[in-house]
């Protein structure tokens, strides 16, 4: 079960190094401390949403109620392989080449 870990009103302590790791961003120490300060203020401001009465309100994920938009299962040409690979930093004509995973 999710717990509400909102800190008391004012500046929020956002764990910037932890969240940056989740987002696969390597920050410098200078960036970390700058963002800690700037985002702390932003998150502190966002906590004013806690004042809003949202009992009985359904969360809204999209502006138009669309779901299961289907089309006929007919194969059609996609982007040709050369175009797909054309912007690749490294490729062998058939695949993207990346550093070894395992």
């Amino acid at each position: 079960m999710q717990t509400d870990r909102s800190a008391p009103a004012g500046q929020d302590a956002i764990d910037v190094p932890y969240v940056a790791r989740l987002a696969r961003l390597a920050l410098t120490p200078a960036e970390t401390s700058l963002f800690q300060q700037q985002l702390g203020r932003v998150v502190g401001y966002m906590r004013e949403l806690a004042e809003l009465n949202v009992d009985q309100v359904e969360p809204m994920a999209q502006t138009m109620p669309r779901c299961n938009v289907l089309r006929l299962d007919e194969p059609r040409p996609g982007l040709p392989r050369e175009k797909v690979l054309a912007n690749a930093p490294r490729h062998d004509g058939e695949q993207f080449i990346v550093p070894k995973i395992v």
């Binding site: 999710q2 987002a23 961003l25 949403l49 994920a61 999209q62 138009m64 669309r66 912007n87 690749a88």
Partner: protein, 484 residues
């Protein structure tokens, strides 16, 4: 002396049809204007003069062969976030340096099928994140009315070039105001279509439930003309509504008789610069003289809109920008020992500060323990904002409001204060959250000569109403545009 660059799209279409000019001459005058001015203005991030002239000559040849099409030979500029096949699509970011679009966005494909010529790429805040275009990794863009000030953002390049007659019209994108706010700051027209009105296929995604491509133009009639070509359902975008466009040209009437216009009281509270409020109020009286009935309405959840917007948009952005990892396109950090290191170093080197801030904020509000307090709560606030508008639109056909609390900031003024910059979006984000359509129309100047915009907000899929209001007001008011 360049002259055809001062035309509107409508005038250009007529001139081309009547043989008053060729597309090549039109593009030539635009290129002259850009050469004379853009060194200082910085609106274009990419311009291939030879390619533009080649497209123009091809259009002229087709016209001589008897082809007719709604925009044949009309040059348009495109914000650097929308894919145009064969052109760069850098999103004003280092991480996409060298990227060439392999396909056309649907909106582009439709404009191309209508005969349009694609002139060049407009500067923007990186990945559409910002309100000043100062977050571009390429260059800054200056406001054509005051070079010490910003053009707004994130579609700042698009707005500046239209206002300076370096383009007849330009495409932008609007997620939280990024078409309307620069239009207001630069004194041109900016339209945010309803969510789902224009296909997002080929628009580099920032926030998928909020983004829309929109035109920046010299007149409301031009915006209607471009929307008519771009809009409509698309099998490549399941969020594009399966709804026909209303007759937008028929909507452009000289008066506003029979219309009820609502004034949301929460948009006129303190905090608005007096000169901005004055210009907007004068415009509202003008709409009344044109025959509209004014009524006060209330949108009580307005004060929570900025918080809800930044939580939702950053959450969606953190997911959408995960694809920039050095694997398939764009830059890649060299000599990474493993993919994880490649991702972290590629993104660290490739993204600017504002993009990093928003990705971190987005990941934070989605993370375990915070998801309910921020993200779900913001989605509930969003539902209340949508309901507020629905209630207001039972009392009126469209709303009138300021676009921004102030006129254009000085360069550097809000750069180090993200929160202050975010708060400037208070009047624009609600329409994105609710999915409504909204228009910014020039409505005057401050004493210092800075443009002010009037916002017209309409119910979803009723662009005909807001275009009607904007057009009638614009024709009656006759605000001067800046020439080349």
């Amino acid at each position: 002396m360049p002259q055809f660059n001062t035309l509107t799209v409508g005038q250009a279409v007529d001139m081309l049809d009547q043989g008053g000019c060729t597309s090549e001459e039109l593009v030539g005058d635009l290129l002259d204007s850009i050469r004379a001015r853009d060194g200082e203005l910085g609106a274009y991030v990419h311009l291939d003069e030879e390619d533009a002239l080649r497209q123009a000559r091809a259009a002229d040849a087709q016209r001589r062969d008897g082809r007719r099409a709604p925009l044949l030979g009309v040059p348009l500029a495109v914000k650097d976030v929308i894919n145009v096949a064969g052109q760069p699509c850098g999103c004003a970011s280092r991480i996409l340096e060298g990227y060439t679009a392999p396909y056309d966005a649907t909106a582009i494909a439709r404009l191309r099928a209508a005969g349009a010529v694609f002139l060049g790429r407009a500067n923007m805040d990186e990945f559409a994140m910002g309100s000043t275009t100062e977050n571009s990794a390429v260059k800054i863009t200056r406001n054509p009315w005051d070079a010490s000030r910003v053009p707004g953002g994130s579609s700042g390049g698009s707005a500046a070039m239209v206002a300076a007659d370096e383009a007849l019209a330009a495409l932008g994108s609007d997620t939280g105001g990024s078409v309307r706010q620069p239009a207001a700051f630069c004194g041109c027209v900016g339209l945010k279509p309803s969510y789902g009105r224009v296909s997002r296929y080929g628009l580099t995604a920032f926030a998928s439930s909020l983004d829309q491509i929109g035109p920046l133009t010299k007149t409301v009639a031009d915006a209607a003309r471009l929307l008519a070509v771009m809009g409509g359902s698309d099998p490549l975008d399941s969020t594009a509504a399966d709804l026909p466009l209303p007759d937008l040209q028929a909507a452009l009437q000289p008066d506003l008789r029979g219309l009820r216009l609502g004034l949301p009281r929460e948009y006129f509270v303190g905090g608005i610069a007096p000169e901005v409020e004055q210009a907007v109020q004068t415009a509202i009286r003008a709409c009344e003289r044109l025959g509209a009935r004014l009524t006060e309405v209330s949108l009580p959840t307005t004060r929570h809109a900025v918080a809800a917007y930044y939580i939702i948009s950053c959450a969606e952005a953190s997911a959408n920008l995960a694809r920039f990892d050095g694997v398939r396109y764009g830059r890649r950090a060299a000599d990474a020992a493993d993919p994880d290191e490649m991702y972290c170093r590629t993104r660290a080197a490739g993204f600017g500060a504002e993009v990093k801030r928003r990705i971190i904020l987005g990941a934070y509000v989605l993370s375990s323990g915070y998801y309910d307090a921020y993200y779900v709560r913001a989605q509930k606030a969003r539902a209340l904002i949508r309901d507020d508008f629905a209630g207001a639109f039972r009392e009126c056909d469209a709303l009138l409001a300021p676009v921004t609390p102030t006129a254009a900031y000085k360069l550097g003024e809000v750069l180090d204060n993200p929160l202050q910059m975010y708060l400037g979006d208070i009047f624009t984000v609600p329409a994105n959250l609710a999915g409504n359509c909204a228009l910014s129309v020039p409505c005057g100047f401050t004493a210092a000569g800075l443009p002010v915009g009037l916002q017209v907000v309409g119910p979803a899929f009723r662009e005909d109403v807001i275009l009607r209001v904007g057009h009638a007001y614009e024709q009656a008011a006759g605000w001067p545009r800046r020439g080349a």
